[in-house]
């Protein structure tokens, strides 16, 4: 009887094991949260419909004919941007690389939206 007690874990040891386990699981969840939202793929939407999915690990440049005009889309070093467009305001080219889903690249005259696959950013939405 005495021998079995010597090999059993004390209450304090159990608490320490649980605390360590909780810490480990929280750490795992934290890194899952950080990677929440797929920053490896971006969607190109025309009139709200996805017309192309971009793999951001592959550098590429192409001209997209939106039906309202053209936009030159560039993927380089994991970032997507519109580098040229024949729209009148060229707000899409001024946007620079896509960094956050709260601020998708929008070309209003060409009804074009470029954003990451659904996920979370630093903020939920931008008032502008």
């Amino acid at each position: 009887m005495t021998g079995r007690n010597e090999h059993s874990l004390s209450a304090l040891q159990w608490i320490l094991i649980f605390a360590g386990l909780i810490l480990l699981l929280l750490t795992v969840r934290f890194f899952f949260d950080l990677s929440d939202g797929n920053r490896e793929r971006a969607l190109i939407l025309l009139d709200g419909k996805t017309v192309r999915t971009l793999d951001l690990s592959e550098d590429q440049t192409f001209v997209l004919d939106t039906g309202y005009g053209t936009n030159t889309i560039q993927v380089t070093d994991g970032c997507v941007s519109v580098t040229d467009a024949d729209c009148p305001d060229r707000v899409c080219t001024a946007h620079g690389p896509l960094t956050d889903n709260s601020m998708p690249i929008i070309c209003l005259p060409h009804h074009l939206v470029i954003r990451f696959e659904p996920g979370h950013g630093d903020v939920d939405i931008i008032a502008e």
Binding site: L25, R29, A94, T99, M103, H111, A127
Partner: protein, 335 residues
């Protein structure tokens, strides 16, 4: 034996709680074009609701509102004017707009349509009208004329109208109402950059709203942590044009007929009421920083605001002090 199994059951419980069952609700989203701008609807569906159906509902309501307001846009024909006066929804909206016009001493004026048109902001063919042209147009506008026409039920006397300045606010209010009626408790609308929050995140925490940097379209200069609020920003950067080195804002001062040119870069209004937030963001931009501060301190309406000026200094009102963050210079907190 029992005491040996208990810890393992506890560990199993922890694993379940911390991984599988605690998974966050993922939002569903849709972008579409309406009112000459891009609309975003982001919903956090609950287990019972059909997310696609709710997105359809939101989109259909925005499109319906757009069609309704388009029928009232710039119209001078007697039939269309009569429609505005006879349509209960349009006349209620116009009534609301005119009340805000009166309360802001005409800084917000839905009759400014002919002057916005003369500057080419509707067509996109921008031009600088001559002074005598503007003087003549100023004689034709005025919210008081619309008020008189409404009171007399006289469509012939109704000036041309632009309800666009509250159109997105109105659409946001009706979409939120529809979603709420259908059991949606957590959603974000961005109607052309006008943000409207239905409830909070599913975990009960506030949404984080970024406020666009007026000088950088890909950045935000501040964040707000909010639930159940409308957040609307007006800025000189929107739909402006440049000629001979001068930049002209699309926001017209109804008293001068000229684009607003004061020290403000942007005004953000935070309010419970979408229509009020939309109208006030325009009115406060026209008033300028001093006028906006006085209007806030008059206590006429319940709202908060963020003013960003050309020197990038930021002024906020006291209701935001616990939910506002920025790296810019905070000039003051208005009480």
């Amino acid at each position: 034996m029992k005491s040996r199994i208990a810890p393992f059951i506890f560990i199993l419980f922890l694993l379940t709680a911390l991984t599988g069952c605690a998974k966050k609700t993922e939002p569903v989203r849709r972008e579409f074009f309406s009112m000459d701008t891009v609309m975003q609807v982001i919903l956090y569906p609950d287990r019972d609701s059909d997310p696609a159906k709710m997105l359809d509902l939101a989109e259909q309501e925005v499109l319906r509102t757009d069609a309704l307001l388009t029928s009232a846009m710039g119209t001078a024909e007697r039939d269309s004017a009569a429609k505005i006066l006879n349509d209960s929804e349009l006349s209620a909206l116009l009534n609301r707009a005119l009340l805000i016009s009166a309360d802001t001493d005409g800084a917000f004026d839905p009759t400014v349509w002919p002057i916005v048109d003369a500057w080419g902001f509707y067509s996109g063919s921008h031009r600088i009208p001559k002074e005598d042209e503007l003087s003549a147009l100023l004689q034709t506008i005025g919210w008081e004329k619309a008020r008189s026409a409404m009171n007399a039920s006289d469509p012939d006397a109704l000036p041309k109208l632009d309800l666009g300045a509250i159109g997105k606010g109105y659409a946001a209010s009706t979409v939120k109402e529809k979603l709420h009626e259908n059991g949606v408790t957590s959603a974000i609308l961005s109607l052309g950059g006008n943000v409207s929050l239905l409830g909070s995140r599913p975990d009960g925490s506030d949404f984080t709203v970024g406020i666009r940097d007026p000088e950088d379209p890909a950045a935000y200069f501040a964040t707000l942590s909010l639930s159940d609020k409308a957040v609307v920003t007006s800025g000189s950067y929107e739909r402006s044009f440049e000629q001979d080195g001068v930049r002209y804002s699309h926001i017209i001062d109804p008293k001068t007929g000229h684009p607003v040119d004061n020290s403000l870069l942007s005004v953000t209004v935070v309010a419970d009421d979408d229509i009020l937030a939309d109208a006030l963001s325009t009115a406060l931009f026209v008033m300028g920083p001093d006028g906006a501060a006085q209007f806030y301190q008059s206590g006429l309406y319940d709202f908060d605001m963020i003013l960003m000026e050309k020197d990038r200094s930021v002024t906020i009102t006291q209701g935001l002090k616990n939910c506002f963050e920025t790296a810019e210079t905070l000039k003051g907190i208005l009480k």
